[in-house]
């Protein structure tokens, strides 16, 4: 610039320009369409920053890592950010609907089918196009976990198994979480009859005592971590965050975990994930395949949840509305809202939101457990 230093214009590539447009799209979706704005806006801005050349935000210059690289290395590579986001999620989660109806835990587990289904499909696609795609078992696991619809878990697992894919899998997970109201209804309609969608469920859940709420996070942490030890960072923080709330004696900690701490982590996570989406790493055929596989994983998870709910109806006296199985994804509370809306359309007397929250919360536990299983076998 004026012979004083090098401006970035000359270094701008077509790839950077495409990525700047993608950054604009993510920011637009977040602000104008209010799709997961707390995530898409920081991710979009991270994409924008890293695709302005010579800024050095994700590079090592004179032995010093750039600002966002430092955040990425300190927060994502060390797994601190996804694990502590689970602390905040735990503080924001009410396990009441799940405790009132424990069989919804099984629906949350069944909906993880999409994760393992997409894992196999990813490998088959990699095998069909070996020159075009390099998808090994670790990469397939990272792609499959998108089906759980859980951003922090996707980041956590991808960082461990296939760190090069972290930008793509995270964006796919968060984008599809925002698109749940568009992706799920056609699948629900295809797999249920109008009569099934109209099945009435009593609006009142069984009452849950304080003692039950206190015992749940402790019991869940002990059982799950003993059985799937590698899920400990996520499940441990999730249950600890919840205990802070239900204990009733650590209000200040619960408030910080659910608000200020969570917000700080969300900013750092969004920016550093976005910053991992440089033109060189994102503009590859692999990205499109991962985005496509993400939809397959989401659809399969939704379908598995519904079919499992229908199967359960064959054995239980008081029938459940099979749509609540579709809420077995971790996308809280979007998947529950979809079920509530469709339930009211089919039967205006139905109020399914709280019933759907059970499998929805179970989905978070299920996805973290599935990630722990992947790590246990492959990590």
């Amino acid at each position: 610039m004026f012979g004083l230093y090098e401006s970035a214009f000359g270094a701008l590539t077509w790839g950077n320009i495409v990525m700047l447009l993608i950054a604009g799209l993510l920011i637009y979706l977040g602000i104008a369409r209010k799709m997961e704005p707390l995530l898409l806006v920081p991710i979009g801005f991270g994409v924008l920053l890293v695709n302005l050349p010579l800024g050095g935000l994700m590079e090592v210059t004179d032995g010093e890592p750039g600002l966002l690289l430092r955040v990425f290395q300190g927060g994502i590579t060390t797994e601190l950010i996804p694990a502590f986001i689970f602390l905040g999620l735990g503080a924001l989660t009410d396990f009441g609907p799940l405790i009132a109806n424990p069989k919804t835990l099984i629906l949350g587990a069944g909906a993880q089918f999409g994760v393992f289904f997409a894992f196999i499909i990813a490998l088959l696609i990699g095998r069909a196009f070996p020159d075009f795609l390099e998808i090994g078992i670790e990469e397939a696991a990272a792609i499959g976990i998108i089906g759980g619809a859980d951003g922090p878990t996707t980041v956590f697992l991808t960082n461990k198994l296939a760190p090069d894919l972290i930008g793509m899998t995270a964006v796919a997970a968060y984008t599809y979480m925002a698109l749940v109201p568009i992706i799920q209804p056609p699948i629900i309609k295809a797999l249920t009859t109008k009569e099934e969608r109209a099945i009435y469920m009593k609006p009142q859940l069984k009452p849950v005592s304080r003692r039950q709420k206190l015992l749940f996070p402790v019991i869940a942490a002990v059982i799950i971590i003993l059985l799937v030890p590698r899920s400990a960072p996520l499940i441990g923080m999730f249950m600890f965050g919840n205990l802070l709330v239900v204990s009733g004696v650590t209000d200040r900690l619960a408030d910080t975990a659910a608000n200020a701490f969570m917000n700080i982590l969300t900013i750092l996570l969004g920016l550093s994930i976005g910053a991992f989406m440089s033109a060189e790493s994102f503009l590859q055929g692999e990205s499109l395949v991962i985005l496509g596989l993400g939809v397959i994983a989401f659809a399969a998870s939704t379908a598995a949840g519904i079919l499992l709910a229908k199967l359960m109806n064959l054995f239980i006296k008081e029938k459940i509305n099979p749509m609540i199985g579709a809420a077995g994804l971790s996308a809280v509370p979007m998947a529950s809202r979809v079920v509530q809306k469709m339930g009211q359309q089919a039967n205006p007397r139905n109020f399914l939101l709280m019933h759907a929250m059970g499998p929805n919360v179970a989905g978070v536990i299920g996805t973290a457990t599935a990630a722990g299983v992947f790590l246990g076998i492959l990590g």
């Binding site: 894992f119 078992i137 799950i224 599935a370």
Partner: protein, 47 residues
Amino acid sequence: MIDWGLVAKVAGAGFGVTILVLTLLAIIVWLVSLVTRESESQGEEKK
């Protein structure tokens, strides 16, 4: 070269373990609910 035996193990056993863990948790939560309700109702009767 992909080890398809490992793939089958990850997909089949992985999904199976996920189902098993959450089913076990569901049973334990149900049992704990029964016990706590019982003890709470006994406590109320004593009062």
